[in-house]
């Protein structure tokens, strides 16, 4: 059963990873991905909006799909919402498995699917006062769709 959290507060990668391995001796690999806010083009901050209720359900469904495809011993997904300046972590995906390939592949799968199937929206705020909603990227759809072919 995956741990799923949607929160404004920062997360602690080391502590979350330790939780997935704590007290067990069957974890051979722990993979993680942290997505961070970049300062592209004079970006002052991102604001992340989500759909409370549906977001958690969607992430739990994505995690259940990963658990059905790979033999995971644990999985943690934390996605931040609210206003985040450049340098701030946005999302954490952590996967644990007896086997390294399962942990690594499930981690890549989860972040690809999160980008295309979880209801979050990013608004960019620039140093000059402009604001704009980030548009969905065809590259993200392509990255997510490669998991359909396997």
């Amino acid at each position: 059963m995956a741990t799923v959290r949607v929160q404004h507060a920062a997360f602690d990668l080391g502590a979350e990873a330790a939780l997935l391995a704590a007290g067990r001796t069957d974890v051979g690999g722990l993979a993680s991905f942290v997505g961070l806010c970049r300062a592209d083009d004079g970006l002052a901050a991102l604001t992340l909006e989500h759909y409370p209720g549906m977001t958690e359900r969607a992430i739990e469904a994505i995690a259940a799909e990963a658990e059905a495809r790979w033999p995971l011993t644990g999985c943690t997904i934390i996605h931040r919402v609210g206003r985040l300046p450049p340098g701030e972590p946005i999302v954490l995906v952590l996967t644990a498995s007896s086997h390294r390939a399962a942990a690594l592949e499930a981690c890549a799968f989860l972040i690809d699917w999160l980008k295309t199937r979880a209801p979050f929206w990013k608004r960019e705020e620039f140093a000059d006062g402009r604001e704009r909603w980030v548009e969905a990227k065809a590259a993200d759809d392509a990255a997510a769709s490669r998991w359909d072919q396997t």
Partner: protein, 83 residues
């Protein structure tokens, strides 16, 4: 029927949610969009390009032909950009 709006759809409509009671012939997502678009200039603007709008019915992604009924929670939003 409870309607939720997110991101620029919310900004264009001018509200985050509303209770609506469309006429009985509004039985699908597509018909609901047509009916909502006629409710105000903000609604019309939000739904002007329907290919850029996504929908969820009762917190599950939905297609335009999906059925809708009284009591449903229906959300409209742009393609998602999290992660």
């Amino acid at each position: 029927m409870r309607i939720l709006y997110f991101a620029w759809v919310r900004q264009k409509v001018g509200r985050a949610e509303e209770e609506v009671a469309p006429p009985p012939e509004v039985t699908t997502v597509a018909a609901l969009v047509d009916w909502l678009a006629a409710q105000s200039p903000g609604h019309a603007d939000a739904f002007a390009n329907r290919r850029t709008i996504r929908c969820a019915v009762n917190q599950e992604f939905a297609t335009p032909d999906q059925a809708v009924a009284a009591g449903d929670e229906i959300a409209f939003f742009p393609p998602v950009t999290g992660g």
